[in-house]
């Protein structure tokens, strides 16, 4: 298992060399998006709209941060940020892949429909340590702007920020079709029958 330090925007060759189980540290721009921001993007594209940002080579972080706004300067600052459960964003992987997004960062893994989309668009899924906002917040250097906060609220809005030394992130799904979460789920599922029979605690 290898460790990579990668700069965003990412190229296809950066992603193609990643294998499930590798460790990644990122530097550059991050776009936060969770349920509602993905929904907003989808609606925009469905209505033949164009998103203001070029997402080619970019990273989406499944996260809903706490942000403070300086009343005088209008500047944003991250108070707390960490990954949310990525599985809810499963239906959107193909959509963001078509827009050129190269990595999705989140927690808990994604399903095999994402694995397929990642193969198709040369993408990877990176697992960030869950519940570790104090650590992740330190890696965010700047918040530049946001989309839709007034409409969908602070956690659901899309925040555009800069990160440095953001990690360790574990490659959970690579662009070659390996999905460690699904592999683990399948092998543990096969064990259930045998393990539930090994019982010592008697009912009578």
């Amino acid at each position: 298992m290898k460790t990579y330090y990668l700069n965003i925007p990412l190229k296809d060759e950066d992603i193609a060399k990643l294998e499930a189980g590798d460790t990644v540290y990122l530097r550059g721009k991050l776009y936060t998006a969770r349920d509602m921001a993905h929904y907003k993007l989808k609606k925009l594209l469905d209505n033949n709209g164009k998103f203001d940002e070029d997402l080619n080579g970019q990273a989406i972080f499944h996260a809903g941060p706490i942000i403070s706004v300086n009343r005088e300067s209008g500047e944003y600052k991250v108070i707390s940020i960490g990954p949310t459960s990525s599985i809810r964003m499963d239906p959107y992987t193909d959509m963001v892949g078509k827009m050129g997004v190269k990595v999705l960062i989140g927690k808990g893994g994604m399903s095999d429909s994402t694995t397929e989309a990642m193969k198709k668009h040369t993408m990877a899924y990176l697992l960030a340590a869950h519940g570790c906002a104090a650590v992740h917040t330190q890696r965010i250097t700047k918040v530049t702007h946001q989309y839709w906060m007034d409409e969908i609220g602070m956690p659901e809005a899309m925040w555009v920020m800069e990160c440095d030394n953001f990690g360790p992130l574990i490659v959970g799904i690579d662009s070659k079709g390996r999905n460690l979460f699904e592999e683990t789920r399948k092998s543990s599922k096969d064990m259930i029958e045998a393990i539930s029979k090994q019982t010592h605690c008697k009912s009578t």
Binding site: M1, G21, T23, A63, G64, P65, I66, S68, I79, S80, I81, G82, T84, S85, I87, K107, G108, G109, L127, A129, H130, G131, C132, A133, A134, V135, T137, Q138, G153, M154, P155, P168, I170, G172, L180, F181, T184, R185, S187, S188, K189, M191, I192, E193, I195, S196, K197, Q198, T199, H200, C201, K202, S203
Partner: protein
Amino acid sequence: MDYRQILRDLIFKISYEVSDDCRCLLNKAVEIETDESSKMILETIIENVNIAGECKQALCQSPGYLTTYVTFGDDFFISDLDQILKEAVIDATKAGYLRPSMVDPLTRVNSGDNSGRGVPNMEYEYKKGIDYIEIIPSIKGCGIELYNKVKVFTIPEMGDNFEGIKKFVLECVVEAGGTACLPSAIGIGIGGQLDVAAKLSRRAMSLRGWMQRNEDKRLAQLEEELLEAINSLNIGSGGTGGKVTTLGVNIETAATHTTLCPVAINFHCWVARRAGIRIYKDGRVEEISFM
């Protein structure tokens, strides 16, 4: 006595400090984990606990859902307790410890300060003869809530030696996978009707330390057996393989009707954001340990 200040401090504290049992279990977990990825996750978790505690910074960006357990007797009560807690939550939100996340369940409109109908949730229990009030606020994460389950078993479905129940628990754990913010704790409520089992499942892991076994020997054995069984599934802290999937399994039971056996499985992320105090009638304040 300034109850307002005491309770405000308590709510602030649970946003940046895990309970003592959780810290101890995480330190043990990182020692025994051999899977490289899961070990790395555990190391980051411990680093996070240290930074959050030292810098008084939110442990997790998600404020989860707060339930406060209150035990009281005949002699002493704090009037307006629910109102005081409501204000403490709003203060913690304004101070950046809790992200505004409470919304109307149907319209999804966010109140902006974590206030709303029915929150923070309060669970009261009357105990005869005590001269104190015990207050345990417990914040439980919500991502994993998607995998909680209640099943009302028939007697044949329970199986010999609880095999049916055991299988149900293991299936829930596998289905949840890494989404459970592993290593998790699992509360299991058995008995009553559906609502009783569900409430017991949350109480089981919120009020009792994750290393404390049930006083009933048979239940204690079942807790240990389930813990061992779950950790042999090779799911690990990252959901990508490993030895430590769950830190503790706590079971609480209540009598039920002869026709059925309701079982509720409730997952808790590793972030044990809870603390407890006892305030005595004479003014003494004691902290509760979960060890």
